[in-house]
């Protein structure tokens, strides 16, 4: 039983996972994900910590296709995270009670087992979670 990322080139599953953005070779603008256009964009590691820019809770199961999450649906939080000096990234939020979500809270990158594929293997997705002190 292995696991695979939901897509190649989005993030690295190192002990401290990292999102891979793209930096425009002329303007320096940073985006996520890195566009598939190496002539104009170079891959760049994004900051692992940021602040919550906005959030909501997805309380009904999105339609499939395109959604591939578990049939047994549980509401999940999503948000935008401002990564200082880089960009604002859309993400699922994990490890936090919905009523504790607050704009401006400090959060950091992690990864989650988002769903399982047809072979029963975990599909991994990046997510953000509150920064634990220490």
């Amino acid at each position: 039983m292995g696991a695979s990322a939901i897509a190649e080139g989005l993030f690295r599953e190192t002990p401290e996972p990292t999102l891979i953005g793209g930096r425009h070779r002329e303007t320096g603008r940073i985006v996520f994900p890195c566009p598939d256009d190496a002539a104009r964009w170079e891959a760049v590691d994004l900051p692992r910590r940021g602040t919550l820019w906005s959030w909501t809770v997805q309380r009904f199961r999105p339609k499939s296709p395109p959604y591939t999450g578990p049939e047994d649906f549980a509401p999940f939080a999503i948000g935008y995270v401002e990564l200082p000096g880089a960009t604002i990234v859309e993400t699922q939020l994990t490890g936090v009670d919905f009523d504790r979500l607050m704009i401006g809270m400090a959060i950091e990158l992690t990864t989650i087992a988002f769903t399982t594929d047809a072979d029963g293997k975990d599909v991994r997705l990046y997510a953000f979670t509150p920064v634990t002190e220490g």
């Binding site: 939901i6 897509a7 989005l10 953005g21 603008r29 985006v31 996520f32 994900p33 820019w53 906005s54 959030w55 909501t56 809770v57 997805q58 309380r59 009904f60 999105p62 339609k63 296709p65 395109p66 959604y67 591939t68 999450g69 999940f76 999503i78 948000g79 935008y80 401002e82 200082p84 000096g85 880089a86 960009t87 604002i88 990234v89 859309e90 699922q92 919905f98 704009i103 988002f114 997705l125």
Partner: protein, 381 residues
């Protein structure tokens, strides 16, 4: 450029009409609009029209008659109706034609809109992960706006309560029963901070407008409602749009700001000169944010406006007099023209139980949609 008048308006009721296709609903609206203008299909020199989910509008000639007229299909998301109107306006303002028709219709399946990543040039994983849901965007744009500008959930409830109250008097609306604010605020949460009564639902409906030159409108004795401005704009840098995996830290403008500014310039008037307004209200917070984006109040002033009822039918600036998308539902191709229909009706004094008092002279309409497009029209009596 010559002046352009709206000389006929027609609508097929919004909501659900089983057994009648979206195209047929558009044709019904077209027949009503032509009858209102005292004209017939062979009088139409051109047509512009569109739907998002109910097929190509030009096949409407099968319903209305094979007169050989040029008919141009429009597919511009939520701005489909607005774009059809602009095409028609240009065709007459340029002097190329004297009279023509703009038609918008749609028929969506029940449940949330089902967008696919490839339609928006997005990678597949973005949809697989559950981000391809329009309600999330509206909720997150609103959540931040409420935090920055002190908007309360009560104000969201007041917008929805007003929509259902106004729709009681609009015979083309879908949801025509009043809903009290406690029911709205305590209903099932769909996407925080928005409950189920604060979102519009995908629906069905059709609207048509017959447009004419000043000369033709006078000949027919139908020169009451003039188009002062008709504008569509796409997004500027740094705007916050639906289906965005990331956005720049340096925040910028919004397509509505561009469209609104251009429309005021074209009309030669400002927001203080407008007597009634139809704003895109796909959820109740959208109406609140769009009040400010279109220049009618400052960010955060909406709390006071709504608490005092200033956007009610009898308020200082009535907003969404037929209940808007919240009460009429959202047939994407038809909603923009519904707003203009409602404004033309109000300027002609035919609003019945929802008529804005004081003989309004100017009316403003605004649509906004994916992937960052906005349309504004200003009418004058």
């Amino acid at each position: 450029m010559q002046d352009v008048y709206i000389i006929g308006i027609g609508i097929h009721p919004f909501g659900r009409t089983d057994g009648v296709s979206g195209l047929q609903q558009g044709a019904n609206a077209a027949r009503a609009a032509m009858a209102d203008a005292g004209l017939e299909w062979p009088d139409m020199q051109f047509g512009f029209g569109g739907s998002d989910s109910a097929g190509n509008a030009d096949t409407i000639v099968n319903e209305l008659g094979l007169t050989g007229l040029p008919f141009i299909n429009v597919k511009n998301g939520c701005a489909t109706g607005g774009s059809a109107l602009i095409g028609s306006w240009q065709a007459i303002a340029s002097g190329a034609h004297d009279v023509g028709i703009a038609i918008g219709f749609d028929k969506h399946p029940r449940g949330a809109f089902n967008a696919l990543p490839a339609e928006y040039s997005l990678p597949e994983w973005y949809g697989e992960a559950g981000f391809m849901v329009t309600t999330q965007f509206f909720a997150m744009k609103l959540q931040r706006y409420m935090a920055l500008h002190g908007i309360s959930p009560t104000s969201l409830g007041r917008v929805a309560e007003k929509a259902f109250r106004n729709a009681v008097h609009a015979d083309h609306a879908w949801r025509r029963s009043p809903v009290d604010i406690d029911t709205i605020l305590n209903a099932q949460m769909i996407s925080d901070p928005l409950t189920k009564y604060m979102f519009c639902s995908p629906a069905e409906g059709g609207v048509a407008l017959v447009l004419a030159s000043a000369k033709k409108a006078r000949e027919l004795g139908r020169d009451q409602v003039r188009i002062k401005a008709a504008v569509v704009r796409t997004r500027p840098p740094g705007s916050f749009e639906v289906f965005a995996p990331c956005m720049d830290i340096e925040r910028g403008g919004a397509p509505t700001l561009l469209a609104s500014k251009a429309a005021y310039e074209m009309a030669g008037i400002g927001p203080q000169d407008i007597d009634l307004v139809q704003l895109q209200d796909t959820e109740s917070g959208a109406e609140i944010m769009h009040m400010a984006e279109n220049g009618f109040c400052g960010d955060g002033d909406q709390e006071e406006w709504l608490a005092n009822g200033w956007t009610n039918i009898d308020g200082r600036l009535p907003v969404n007099t037929d209940g808007g998308c919240l009460a009429c539902g959202e047939p994407i191709g038809a909603s923009g023209l519904r707003q203009v229909y409602e404004n033309a009706l109000q300027l002609r004094g035919l609003g019945g139980g929802r008529q804005v008092p004081g003989k309004p002279r100017t009316a403003y309409s605004h649509v906004y949609g994916a992937p960052g497009i906005s349309g504004v029209t200003i009418l004058e009596r």
